[in-house]
């Protein structure tokens, strides 16, 4: 059995911006991704509210979906409660059985090892703007989910507001409170503070004013002999005024006045020393206040703790470092989808921003990234990246297909730009169906082949001139493939055979070199060399850009415009921009 609390499933109904959300989070770190206002923070807030250590939580009309309070809201979780929490002290609460996807009744007839016990916790916002914490019992009756039990589970919550330091104060149910308070600490503190002689701080004049007041009181028949001292008042507890101090250059300063990162790290450390059995961690914007190295430290610590935690982030550093975490994506409708590690791990390492963009466009490789950068540079009002478009290197045909499927399943809005290798046609089709025109796939072959196919015979060799005008390296690859010592254009053309087939041979030769084709290499070592030819042509971001440039310079664009403009317009549509008419895309 788990020795830490764990949420097996979470059901949110009509809470803030989320109308319906059903989610089975994973056991360790859950990183929630999604665009602005998608509800990531709402999910975290819902979890924190469910386990809130106090009942004194204010509910606002805006906590209800569409501000409609009539139907109320509810947040329900099916949770594992480790025995260390001592739920057995709450003897009226009985467990359900977890069948792997839901809480079910135990079945005495089942001839199998029973699954582990779970409880159904729920908090409801009523139409009267009140909160009710409940346990749903196996007989469907409702029992109270007491603050006592909630405090034993203890959510550590680092919210994204600047003043948040409750876990560093002795506020009821805070991490510090749970760590330190044994018995009646707060009443002992009250007593200690009450015994402090405050009159010593008074100036003579102030003292006299106090004495005069005493005399006035006496004359009025009121209690007198006045002094200053601690008077507790409603709503303000001594615990809120007492928190951790730490030494800074010889002065004791409240930890609460340190920077956001330090405060947040400290709060986690305080929580970390309390019993593991009572720990669920909720961190909104984990990168807040932390330099990349401290952010990586923090993630490593969360992994080491093994507890379940819920994290939101907008930081590629965090995503890249979260290798042992489960990534989830919440779309604008509040639907939540898994990003399976096996499909996305490479992309997570290669380009973590893929997952943070508004519209990631997954391209076949670096060439395509460069080509699209060129193609799209004037396609929108501002630069594409300013619109939240991210051109991502998908790492090759096979790898990007897996990634596309995963991203599509998780509910991301995305684009794709890829070759057609004639493989996995079924899966490609399913992606194309889901993405529509935002998925661009050549009818056949790759980017280089499709551009070069339309270059005039006479201009073919000008492809060999790189952006700086040098052509030696590229001609060398052609000469190698023809078995020539010399690499001048005339020798290459001559080696391409009789005039009627010369240019088709040359065209094929250039495509082969530009794509690093090994076909026809005499031996293994030569094949290895040939494979590297592509780098001397367009296989780089710069090369892709150059290819785009050449497409325009060599008059190829009008041939490709019908296909490519459709793709560009699909991306524009995704951002809510109207389609461009033919000829209007400035290249």
């Amino acid at each position: 059995m788990a020795n830490q609390p764990r949420i097996n499933s979470l059901m949110i109904r009509r809470f803030r911006g989320i109308e319906v959300l059903d989610w089975s989070p994973s056991a360790g770190i859950n990183v929630l991704l999604g665009g602005g206002d998608s509800g990531k923070s709402t999910v975290l807030h819902a979890i924190a509210l469910l386990f809130s250590p106090t009942n004194a939580v204010q509910v606002l009309e805006t906590d209800y979906f569409n501000r409609s309070t009539g139907e109320g809201f509810s947040i329900e979780a099916v949770v594992d409660i480790p025995p260390e929490v001592g739920i057995a002290d709450f003897s009226s609460l009985w467990p359900w059985e977890w069948d792997g996807s839901a809480a079910v009744l135990p079945d005495p007839e089942a001839e199998k090892e029973p699954n582990h016990p779970v409880f159904r916790f729920r908090v409801r916002g009523t139409e009267d703007l009140e909160l009710v914490w409940e346990v749903v019992q196996p007989n469907a009756e409702i029992a109270a989910l007491s603050t006592g039990l909630r405090r034993r589970i203890g959510v550590v919550r680092l919210a994204n507001d600047d003043r948040n330091d409750r876990d560093l104060r002795l506020v009821t149910g805070s991490a510090l409170d749970r760590l330190l308070s044994k018995g009646n600490l707060k009443s002992r503190l009250n007593k200690q503070v009450a015994e402090t002689d405050l009159s010593a701080a008074l100036l003579e004049e102030e003292m006299k004013a106090l004495e005069d007041l005493g005399t006035t009181f006496e004359r009025a028949g009121l209690p007198h002999d006045l002094e200053l001292g601690l008077t507790s008042s409603q709503g303000l507890s001594i615990g809120a005024l007492i928190g951790l101090l730490a030494d800074r250059a010889g002065v004791k300063l409240p930890l609460a006045s340190w920077g956001a990162g330090t405060r947040r790290m400290s709060a986690l450390e305080v929580a970390g020393v309390t019993e593991a059995a009572s720990r669920l961690t909720v961190i909104d914007e984990i990168e807040r206040g932390l330099e990349p190295y401290r952010l990586r430290q923090l993630l490593a610590k969360l992994v080491k703790d093994e507890g379940q935690c819920f994290v939101t982030t907008h930081s590629p550093v965090a995503i890249k470092a979260a290798t042992k975490a489960a990534l989830w994506f919440i779309d604008a409708k509040g639907a939540i989808g898994a990003l399976p590690a096996v499909a996305i791990a490479q992309q997570q390492a290669r380009d973590p921003e893929t997952f943070l963009a508004k519209l990631p466009v997954i391209a076949e490789g670096v060439t395509e990234v460069g080509f699209l950068r060129f193609l799209l540079r004037n396609a929108f009002v501002a630069a594409p990246e300013d619109h939240g478009i991210r051109l991502c290197d998908g790492g090759g045909n096979e790898s990007m297909l897996g990634l596309l499927v995963a991203l599509r399943d998780a509910g991301l809005m995305l684009g794709a730009f890829c070759d057609n290798e004639g493989k996995s046609t079924g899966r490609w089709k399913s992606v194309a169906d889901a993405l529509g025109s935002r998925c661009f796939q050549w009818r056949t072959g790759c980017l280089e082949a499709n551009v070069i196919a339309h270059v005039d015979d006479a201009s073919l060799l000008s492809l060999a001139c790189d952006s700086e005008g040098a052509s030696g390296e590229r001609l060398r690859t052609l000469a190698d493939r023809l078995g020539l010592q010399a690499k001048d254009e005339a020798s290459i053309l001559a080696a391409c055979g009789a005039s009627e087939q010369r240019f088709s041979k040359l065209r094929a030769l250039i495509v082969a070199a530009a794509t690093g084709d090994k076909e026809g290499a005499p031996d293994v070592d030569t094949a290895k060399d040939w494979a590297k030819h592509s780098r001397r042509w367009f296989k780089s971001e710069e090369g892709g850009r150059e290819l785009g440039q050449k497409m325009v310079e060599l008059g190829v664009w009008p041939k490709l415009e019908p296909e490519l403009l459709t793709f560009v317009n699909a991306l524009r549509a995704a951002l809510g921009q109207p389609a461009l008419a033919p000829g209007r895309l400035k290249l």
């Binding site: 009985w94 009744l105 029973p114 196996p138």
Partner: protein
């Protein structure tokens, strides 16, 4: 064998400890002390004390007051009912299992299904064991097979189990097959863990001679021997001889005046007195024999009321069926209200819907009763009719002079039903009140040995110890032991010479 050894064994880490506790040997004291200790050492959960009666529950509650937050004291029925309620959908029971069990007297069915659940789902058994890591069973010999297995399932899931019981007080089941099965379970239980005996007669601290003798007699009965009444009898024990001189002995009870004299003398002495006999029938006969001078102890069960309620529930609205239930109830709880004198006439009035003018006092009253039933052929009408009848009996109206109300508690409860909107609500509330009010027997009363189980009294008289009452069976040996161990100061046995009990040697 010493109390100290028992106390130590109870506090050991052993998962299972069985204590054979003879009546009056400090079982409740030991149990409550142990529960108090265990509760104060418990980290999580509570000590669970399972009793069979609400009376025992309240005694344990008083004696564990100091740790009341960490001890749960429940009758085993209510414990199993709670679990069954939580998981009622898994074991195909209605939502309010408690009400269902009460209304239909289905506690056995609840125990059976709950046992099935606890044995079939270790998840539920473990949850129970975590809530109650220490369980103390009181009077475990009274547990049914299902109750026993349910407790064992929780024990196997991790609860430390402490079982008190007395194989010599196995009297539920009323026959040797039942007794033998219970004894078998007890032996298995003893063999599965450590076991000790509580055999110091604390109940008789004032008359230790009687206490020691009762323990010796218990041993003899247990070993299959006879109770020796020859020779010098201990202080506090007296023996009389008498015969039932009634013409049809199983229909009534009488004695010659010579036989009767010493018994009447005993009865007239002051102080507490419990007159014990073996069967319900004989309680009725003795009630007449003593001229109804003693109240009958009706115990905690309301069998006749339950039957009346079953009839009302089934036939409400059908006055002809209701009148039958009404008459059956009156016949069982009162004497002298006969079919020939009253019953047939009442039935006729109902059938004719009181259409004829009556003559005479008694027919007028019977017609009034019939009118009440016709007006409201349900629990309200029955309650009003009974109240009317009690009134005319108590006023000694003509035609009702011979009527005696015997089972007053059942009659009183049936009249109370009329205050409730429905028969089920009324029964539930009456049962609940009885559960929490712990009715105590009158200072002097007449009871079956069954209903006296768990009671104690300064003086007890067992009447009549003949073969019919105490034959040589496992069951009757135990019944006799339970009866005689009720007396704290003086025990009187009335023996039959003509038809002697084989359990007694004199």
């Amino acid at each position: 064998m010493s109390d100290k050894a028992v106390a130590e064994l109870l506090r050991s880490d052993l998962p299972l400890v069985t204590v054979e506790a003879a009546a009056g040997c400090g079982k409740t004291h030991q149990g409550a002390q142990f529960a108090t200790d265990a509760a104060s050492h418990l980290g999580v959960g509570r000590v669970l004390i399972l009793t069979h009666t609400h009376a025992a529950r309240s005694v344990f509650a008083q004696r564990t007051q100091t740790v009341s937050g960490s001890v749960a004291i429940r009758t085993i029925d209510s414990f199993l009912t709670e679990i069954a309620s939580i998981y009622h959908r898994a074991i195909d029971l209605p939502a309010d299992v408690g009400a269902w069990a009460r209304a239909n007297n289905q506690y056995d069915e609840v125990a059976s299904r709950c046992r099935h659940l606890l044995e079939g789902s270790s998840l539920v058994a473990e949850a129970a064991a975590q809530r109650y890591p220490v369980i103390l069973c009181d009077e475990h010999q009274d547990a049914s097979a299902d109750q026993h297995r349910a407790v064992m399932a929780v024990h196997k899931a991790g609860a430390r189990l402490r079982v008190f019981g007395d194989p010599m007080q196995v009297i539920f089941g009323n026959n040797d097959t039942g007794v033998r099965a219970t004894l078998g379970r007890w032996e298995d239980l003893k063999c599965s863990g450590a076991s000790e005996k509580l055999l110091t007669p604390h109940r008789w601290s004032g008359s230790s001679e009687l206490g020691a003798w009762i323990l010796a007699a218990r041993q003899a009965l247990k070993d299959g021997g006879t109770v020796d009444l020859t020779g010098r009898l201990p202080k506090g024990l007296s023996v009389y001889f008498a015969e039932n001189s009634a013409q049809i002995p199983h229909r009534s009870f009488s004695m010659t005046s010579a036989h009767r004299r010493p018994i009447d003398e005993l009865r007239r002495r002051g102080g507490q007195l419990l007159v014990l006999t073996e069967s319900n029938d004989r309680v009725g006969h003795l009630n007449a024999f003593f001229d109804r001078s003693m109240r009958i102890w009706e115990g905690h069960r309301r069998e006749n009321l339950a039957r009346l309620i079953a009839c009302i529930r089934q036939s409400a609205g059908d006055v002809d069926a209701i009148v039958d239930g009404f008459l059956a109830f009156v016949a069982a709880t009162a004497k002298g209200f006969t079919p020939s004198a009253h019953g047939n006439r009442l039935r006729t009035e109902v059938k004719e819907r009181c259409s004829k003018v009556t003559r005479g006092v008694m027919p007028a009253h019977l017609q009034a009763v019939a009118r009440l039933l016709i007006a409201e052929p349900d629990h309200c009408g029955v309650a009003r009719a009974l109240a009317y009848l009690v009134d005319v009996v108590e006023r000694g109206e003509t035609g009702f002079g011979e009527v005696e109300l015997d089972l007053k508690s059942e009659i009183r409860d049936a009249i109370r039903l009329g205050q409730f909107p429905s028969v089920d609500a009324g029964f539930a509330e009456i049962t609940r009140r009885r559960t929490f009010s712990h009715p105590q027997p009158p200072r002097r009363c007449l009871s079956t040995i069954h209903k006296s189980k768990g009671l104690e009294c300064d003086n007890a008289l067992i009447l009549l110890c003949d073969r019919a009452a105490f034959s040589n069976t496992l069951y009757k040996r135990r019944l006799f032991y339970v009866g005689m161990s009720r007396a704290k100061k003086e025990l009187a046995l009335v023996l039959s010479r003509d038809d002697p009990s084989p359990l007694l040697k004199f």
